[in-house]
Subunit: 193 residues, 2 copies
DNA sequence: CCGTGATGAGACAGGTCTGTCTCTTTTCTA
DNA sequence: TAGAAAAGAGACAGACCTGTCTCATCACGG
């Protein structure tokens, strides 16, 4: 049988690598650590992923899909656009307070792979633009597209900054003030376009 | 003579390491690369800095001091609190558009050194809290302290997010929308405390 | 039941990492 | 100008890095 694009072993490697990358970073986590933790042979890893870089991209893409699925599910329960944005902040609040929160893996990837041509950089851009597009689509239900575009960018910046503050140990203040600032951004007091 | 705490050689190492850390990251930049680029002997480096970690902290602290000095200078030219906040955004706009902008070195350090007990982590927290305190002090001239605290946190999050977006190649949109959102946050539409 | 593909186990190459050590040379100052 | 401090040069240790290779073993489907 041709190697399935998503086998159980492959997924196990992704999950293990995710936990290690999240805790220790990308360059600081060696292949040997990953295969030891996953309890697999080195060749099993290299047969599924041609290189460490491609494993990193696979981990990021997997987390991005999971994130999108979770937001999709939360959004269905929300009625108004304002509530939909609130569910996104709810998601982040729970995340900030989760036991092994270590900041945003995508932001960390950007820090370690700053070359815009690098596949890891592109994977990060995909995820961030996905979240911005999602919020922009929500906001366009209550405001003109040009304003929605700017507000979505502002909300994305706010969320990214809140994640950084949360990693610095101020999860409560970060999410509380982010909620208030988000309300200010959406509700108006927005200068002429 | 006892080794000066700030010799010319030492500063040269800090400057060279800064350029390399900024471009390639901390773990990805080896000591050998630093001493080759700085054109110094390895022992000169290790006589000034007991370890790579302490060099990183020295680089971060040096940049933080430089940042504070530049903001101090800009603030003197600004009359009102609103203008003082604007000069901080001006500084970031110029930074985003500078030739070798690679994102925030402090955010990158946080990504690679996520342990709150690590000296590098603490150096990052110092810098971010310094910027927040600066903005809070400015805002307290126009609003009650509790509101100034929340608004300063919101502005800090906005700036951090704008820096991340700028690194993703959207410097113009980031700074423009950050300015508008900052105005919305300061001007009001701020929920009951 | 047999063969084919996935996996395990581990040696191996070639390089890089941080940090230490020694010895020589330069530089500065008293 | 003599002596001390600083710096250069580079070998060295011991560990770790990514990625390749070989060979034995296992599972499973025709």
């Amino acid at each position: 049988m041709a190697p399935a694009r998503t086998s159980a072993k492959r997924q196990h490697v992704v999950d293990t690598a995710y936990a290690l990358f999240k805790r220790d970073g990308f360059h600081a986590t060696g292949i040997d650590r990953i295969i030891a933790e996953a309890d697999i042979a080195k060749m099993t890893m290299y047969r599924n992923f041609p290189s460490k870089d491609e494993l990193i991209v696979a981990v990021l893409d997997h987390r991005a899909r999971r994130f999108e699925r979770q937001l999709d599910r939360l959004a269905t329960a929300a009625a108004t656009p304002g509530q939909k944005i609130a569910t996104i902040l709810d998601w982040h609040e729970r995340w900030f307070r989760s036991a092994d929160f270590h900041g945003c893996l995508f932001a960390h990837a950007l820090a370690e792979f700053g070359d815009p041509a690098h596949p890891v950089f592109k994977a990060v851009a995909r995820q961030k633009n996905g979240l911005r597009s999602r919020m922009q689509a929500i906001l366009e239900q209550t405001m003109p597209p040009e304003r929605a575009e700017g507000a979505a960018a502002a909300l994305l910046m706010l969320i990214e900054g809140a994640t950084l503050l949360a990693q610095m140990g101020e999860a409560d203040a970060a999410i509380g003030n982010a909620r208030k600032a988000a309300a200010a951004i959406i509700a108006g007091a927005w200068g002429r376009q």
